[in-house]
Each structure stands twice: as structure tokens, then as C-alpha cells.
Assembly symmetry: C2
Homo-oligomer: 350 residues x 2
């Protein structure tokens, strides 16, 4: 049985989360950024990457694995590439800064590739690629993390469920926003099935002993999407993100040292300045016409609307801006408890 | 029953194919490039994209859909982006030039993004990304083409099986080379199952009436890998490749005009200069250690070696350089027939 839910206005939620992080030692600016990224995920119905992660962030600060007061270094290596040394800053802080950097460099170079070294928990990377789209650019992002997915042909954690995101600005339509794990199903979705008591699809996960299962209670290890394809994408994302950062995660993890198992992530964010190629309005028109063509295809189920990536999320976002964010009552209580424990104010009505 | 095979030395095959294209009207340089790309695919056991495509190229020349004497324009838009207007040049010619351009620009900018507008049949795009790796760079590539895959939730061709390739140079190990279609199975692989009479995996293809099938004889439409994931990747590849080229394929195809259904492709090739980020030898070391870690994972089948992307292809490549390329006898006869018809020389022994 899922817990009962309460509707929290997004602004209230953002204030609560920002106050918690500021009380936990981050600057107000960083606290606002983290709150914005987490609440954005809830607004788009990616609850697994939303404010439910606040306790985990606080735990990472307490363990010294995340740094509430990071000294982030941005090194412009050449005209179109930079590296952001995150100093264990939370992902929302490091990746927001990195995408700003990419957008700024792409304005002159046409494209920019920014590598992020040594951050923690990037959240949902669609947030950052969509930020590029808000500037009329295409945004691409990949993240590499600690192995939590079976490599093809094995029954143990070999690589990570490393995501790929691509954001494309449209005109009439919402931004086309692909944000996918390289696993059949994201770990957060497994947790959602567990909470709801619904079975997993076939071929999505293994038990901790490496047996295939559809029972979310015993699912421990997601399988790569398309077998060799998902496993191969995850591996090359590790080599691109961690290799260029000279901060390998997969090889370090398998070396078996405690350091190798420590939570950390590397990332790549790319911005492409559309206006270097084609007038942005013409590009938006092509995107709109392409989305129209897809949505007009004959559906296999006549009662089911065809969707493009990001469309459902954009719709939920608009709804929740009005209705508020539905959150499990125990989660709200937990967040309020964290706020009180840290001496942070608790917004009225929570 | 598959046809009997004969072993043809790769040099002989390259000479035959180059002579055919030169006789069909291309420059010798372009003929050599096309021959190199096609034979490379055969050497790596990607026979579906190898010399079996020669008749199709000749047909595209005859129909005026491919241009044997293209005037290719390269426009350096900004320091890190360029567009190659292919003038309907065969893909091997346009994409080889585009990756050379990307590598050259990445040397100064750190990364370069080159869009290819209006080429035909790119062949296996791993060839071009691997070319970047030979210069010590990482190479990425995507291609957009005419719809030939079901979009998720439909039973008709909505998007293309548009591939993604990523090449990462290693040290002791061969280049890590991912080259995957966004479908569960490539069209060429379906043809191979048809030739061998072996069934397709479940969930890989539909009949032309939109029914799921494992019978390669009636399979007409590949399904996207991972449902929404493969369909979404294909769609964003179209928007990135064709949108930036201002040469939309998907929307034009669905408009139903004869022009919209004409075979053509757009592409994006990206080169990342590793040395901008980290000494290349250090990077190669990280790649080697990561590949070692993956290959040392416990396999689910103890008799089965774990492979990384491109490893099997590199091994077959080395073998076939010595043993020759195994080709169906009727295919060799067909190629020789084309050579004779065009007045091209036929190498001794064929």
C-alpha cells in the first residue's frame, strides 16, 4: 500500500528544501540551486529523483562524501572545452554551473563540451540539458557513477545505470527532452514498484543472487536495456565522462578498495548553439513539424495518445505548478523533522 | 540454406570495388574511399554493410539519387562547428571528409561538431568514429535516415533505425567501438537471419501488417530497443542531425510526397581531443584498466568470455586480414558481373 499523499505548493517545497540545505551549511545560492533541481524532478513526476533524496544528501554531507562548501574550479582548456572540478559539490550545484559554462562557450565556439570531475548525485540530468534548451540551444548530457547494473553476460554489478539526456527546443510544443537510464528500468522506478506492490516487467532486473525476477521486493540489480547496447552505452559513458576527468570509477570500484566504492560521479554536458547552423525559429519549426508527424502516426491502441520524449513530464509540470506537488505524508513529515533538527524554519501549513 | 563462401583477400576486394566505382564515374580518390569503408565492414564481420551494398550504390547513381561527381562544400561556421553539404555524395565520401574536418577543428578547439547535410547510405558509422580514435581522439557519430522502424505505440514506420557510434582509443586493448542501431535488431541482421533460416529474438520485429513475429521471412519492421528509449533516441538523432542541417527527413517522409520518401541521410560527427583534458597515454591506461575490470567480472556462463564493444570486430578484422574475407560465391559473381558490365578490370583469381 502506498502512503497517503498531500499536495504541497512548489514554492513552499522549494523554500523548505533550500532552508534545510542552508541550515546544513551550504551557501544560500547553492541551497536554492539544489532545491530547484529536486523540486523540478517532482514537478515532472520523476519523484525518485526529487525531494525524497534530501535525507541522502544530508547523509553524504555528514559522512564527508559531499562538500557543503566546495571550492569549484572551472578550467577553460580550449575554446570549446572546459573541466569543472567539483570538489565533491552536490550534483545540482556542479552541473548547473557546468551547463552555464557550456552555454557561454558554445555562444562563441558553436559547441562546447564541459567535463565535470568528482561530484555527487547529479539528480535528473534532464534539468541541465533543458537549461540549454531555454537558451535556444540543444543540450546533451551523460553521467557516470558507481556500478549498480549488471554488465551483459554477468550477474553482478559491473557498470552503472548511467543516463543519457538530450534536450531540443521546440516552438509550439514543449522542449523534446529525452532523459533515460541505460538500464531497462531505473533503480528509482524499482523502488516505486516496491512501494506500490506492482510487478516489474520481464527482463528488467535480477535478484542479489543473479536470478531474473519480476518481484520488486527481491529485485536488486537492473539489467541493461537491449543487453549489449545498454551495457555498451554505459561503458562508453564511463570512459568519456570519467576517462576525460582522469577520475575512473568503474576500474576503481572493481579494484575492491573502500575508496573505489565511495559514492561519486563524473559527467559531461554539451551545448550546441543552433543559431550557428540555422536560424533558431526555422529549427523550432522543423521540431514542431516532426513532433506533429509523430503524434499523427496510427497508434496500435486507438485510445492511447502517442507521446514524444518529455511531453508527459511537461504536462505534469504545468499541472503541478497549479495543483501542487503530491508527496507521501511520511516524506513531508521527514523533511519537516530534518528542518527542525537543523534549526531551519518550517513554512506555514507543513 | 546459406550460399557457399569463398575467401577473397581484402586488397583484391578493395581493388575490385574501387575499380567498379571509378568505372561508374566517381573520382579514383572517392572510389578508394568507398571501397575502404565497405571492405572495412566485411573485415569486421558487419557483412550487411559491406560490399553486398555495391549494387545498391550503383542503382542510386543510376536513379540520380546519389551523385558520383559531387561538389562538396565545407562551411566552418564557428571555431568548433562546421557543416558539410554533401551534394548527394555517397556516405563514405561525405562522412570521411566530415570526420577529417572534425579532427582538424578539435585539435584547436578541443571538440568539434560537424553536421553532414544530404548524403546517401553512410555505411557502418563505426568506420568514421574509429578514424578519430586513430588520431588519439574520441569519436562520436549519429545518422538520421528515412523511417524504417516502428515508433513506440505504433505499428508502422515512424522513425529510422538511426545508429549511434562512440569510439574510444585504448592502449593494450583494441579501440572500444560501440556501433549500434536504435532498433532491437538492425535490418541487415534480419536479412542475415532470413538467409540462414534462423528465428529472430522475441520482440524484435513486426510483420508488414504490424503483427509481432520471430519469422525472419515475414519480419518487415524492426522495433525500437527498449521501446520508448530506442524510439526517443532515434527521434532526437533526427532532430539533431536533420534539424541542424535544415533538411528534415521524418516530417518530410510523413508528408507523403515522393520527394519525402527519397533515400537520403544526414549525420553528425564529433571529435573530442583527449589531449585537451588529460595526457593521452594516461587516458589510454584508464581505458585499458576499465576494459580489464569488465573482462574479469564473473560471467553468468563460465564458458563464455565477456566482451567489450568492438572487441569481437577487432578480432575478426585481424583474422580476415590474414585469411581473407569470406563472401557468398553468388555475391562475388555479381560484383564481377558489375565490373565487366562497366568495363572495369577484374582482379586475377576472381
Amino acid at each position: 500500500m502506498a502512503a497517503p499523499r498531500t499536495l504541497v505548493p512548489d514554492k513552499t517545497l522549494r523554500t523548505l528544501v533550500s532552508d534545510i540545505f542552508a541550515a546544513a551549511g551550504t551557501s544560500r545560492e547553492h541551497a536554492d540551486t539544489i532545491a530547484d533541481v529536486l523540486v523540478w524532478a517532482n514537478l515532472r513526476d520523476i519523484d525518485s529523483h526529487g525531494v525524497s533524496r534530501v535525507p541522502r544528501y544530508l547523509e553524504l554531507f555528514e559522512k564527508g562524501q559531499a562538500n557543503p562548501k566546495p571550492t569549484i574550479a572551472v578550467d577553460e582548456l580550449r575554446s570549446a572545452v572546459a573541466i569543472v572540478d567539483a570538489d565533491a559539490a552536490p550534483g545540482p550545484v556542479a552541473l548547473s554551473l557546468a551547463m552555464d559554462q557550456a552555454v557561454s562557450m558554445a555562444r562563441s565556439a558553436g559547441v562546447a563540451w564541459v567535463t565535470v570531475r568528482g561530484t555527487v548525485h547529479t539528480g535528473t540530468i534532464g534539468y541541465y540539458t533543458e537549461a540549454a534548451a531555454r537558451y535556444g540551444m540543444a543540450g546533451l548530457g551523460i553521467v557516470a557513477g558507481v556500478p549498480n547494473m549488471a554488465y551483459v553476460g554477468t550477474t553482478s554489478a559491473g557498470v552503472a545505470t548511467s543516463p543519457l539526456s538530450v534536450a531540443i527546443p521546440a516552438g509550439r510544443h514543449p522542449t523534446v527532452l529525452l532523459d533515460m537510464a541505460t538500464s531497462v528500468i531505473a533503480l528509482g522506478r524499482i523502488a516505486e514498484h516496491r512501494a506500490k506492490g506492482t510487478p516489474l516487467p520481464e527482463g528488467a532486473a535480477l535478484t542479489k543472487d543473479g536470478r531474473p525476477t519480476t518481484d520488486p521486493a527481491e529485485a536488486a540489480l537492473p539489467l541493461p536495456v537491449g543487453g549489449a547496447k545498454g551495457a555498451g552505452m554505459s561503458l562508453v559513458f564511463e570512459l568519456l565522462a570519467s576517462g576525460l576527468a582522469a577520475n575512473p570509477i568503474v576500474s576503481s570500484y572493481h579494484s575492491g578498495t573502500p575508496e573505489g566504492r565511495r559514492h561519486r560521479q563524473n559527467a559531461v554536458l554539451v551545448a550546441v548553439d543552433i543559431s550557428a547552423f540555422v536560424p533558431v525559429e526555422r529549427f523550432r519549426g522543423i521540431v514542431d513539424e516532426t513532433v506533429d508527424a509523430i503524434k499523427a502516426l496510427p497508434p496500435s491502441d486507438p485510445d492511447r495518445e502517442l507521446l514524444v520524449p518529455g511531453e508527459r513530464g511537461a504536462r505534469t509540470y504545468a499541472e503541478r505548478l497549479t495543483s501542487g506537488v503530491p508527496l507521501p505524508v511520511p516524506l513531508v513529515a521527514k523533511l519537516v523533522g530534518h528542518a527542525r533538527a537543523l534549526g531551519a524554519p518550517v513554512p506555514e501549513g507543513l
